[in-house]
Symmetry: C2
């Protein structure tokens, strides 16, 4: 499906790579703060190529959101799913979030959806629905981790997986917010163990 020959002059840049670069610019500067010049410079293509390949700025932004959402490389969740002990897993989850929130490369901090896309709800149609879909997806994935413990028998069958998953999600927003405001990783990690303990307490 990918190497079918298309008529016309072939593209001289990689679509996904360029989109990824655009996402980084949005991440760093926000939707309004990112100018077309910023974007084309980072993407390495002139403006007309951007418009013909991605549509206008709003469509490009939506495509960047989709690229981010589809990426399964969210380190915090991977950490949560990898670690066997549930309490340690939660700690690793938040530690990864704290790292994202405080020292992510290229000035982009936090979560692209949480700290960048959110701002543009109401300004760019389609952002809100995408974020809501992502929230549902994430919570399901987090809840599944608790369900695994229920299956293992380390958590009771009555354990409210989805509620605790939602709570983890909301706490995450707090870390991202603090990180954005400039609070350091060391300070953010204080009290982490107690939080993990609370989250698995029935």
């Amino acid at each position: 499906m990918s190497d079918i020959k298309k008529i016309g002059r072939p593209r001289s840049f990689d679509y996904e790579e360029a989109l990824s670069q655009a996402m980084n610019v949005f991440w760093e500067k926000g939707f309004n703060g990112a100018s077309i010049r910023d974007l084309t410079k980072a993407m390495g293509i002139p403006a007309p190529s951007l418009y013909s390949a991605f549509g206008d700025k709003q469509e490009l932004f939506l495509k960047a959101i989709d690229l981010y959402s589809d990426g399964d490389n969210c380190e915090p969740i991977v950490a949560l799913e990898t670690e066997e002990d549930i309490e340690t897993a939660i700690i690793r989850f938040f530690e990864a979030i704290i790292q994202y929130a405080t020292e992510h490369e290229s000035g982009a901090k936090g979560c692209f959806l949480a700290s960048c896309a959110t701002t543009s709800v109401g300004q760019v149609e389609g952002v809100g629905s995408r974020i809501r879909a992502s929230i549902v997806d994430t919570e399901i994935r987090l809840a599944a981790r608790f369900d695994r413990e229920i299956a293992k028998g380390t958590l009771p069958a009555s354990f409210p997986s989805l509620e605790r998953a939602a709570m983890m999600f909301d706490l995450r927003q707090g870390y991202i917010f603090r990180g954005r405001a400039g609070v350091g990783a060391k300070e953010l990690k204080r009290g982490l163990e107690e939080r993990a303990r609370m989250l698995v307490t029935s």
Copy 2:
């Protein structure tokens, strides 16, 4: 101190009122999204008056943040402090936040600091430090509510007031995020009682 006669032509608009209107515009559209024309229109003054009274756009933004921070009219905190029963107080606290997050007037949703000012950290100098100061203030105030319960004897002396206050603060960010994304109040209130119970469990 306020009715000293100053020389020169007196101002024809109310300083705080105009600043408040500016804040609303920033709240709704963000720092970059709010143009000087938007601001002057909402403030009811021409551009030169804006510049002479508030400085440039960045200074106006910082003054708006200060106005918001100094305002003691934060309904959620008032609700928390007013209600006597601690668990009910927490529920009222979050209910007020949910209302702010979902149906605040004039398009502005959430918390001015959390969902607007945050975006401009790194773009406008002085925003980060102001937000951090506000975080500390808020947490101290929230913790004080728990301390009151300790004094009353309804919570043990060992109760970790500050940690739980920080947790409430972070959960708040989750509500604001969801509200911004368009999640409704009804859905946000699900599980609220359990959260309140957890927050006061030692």
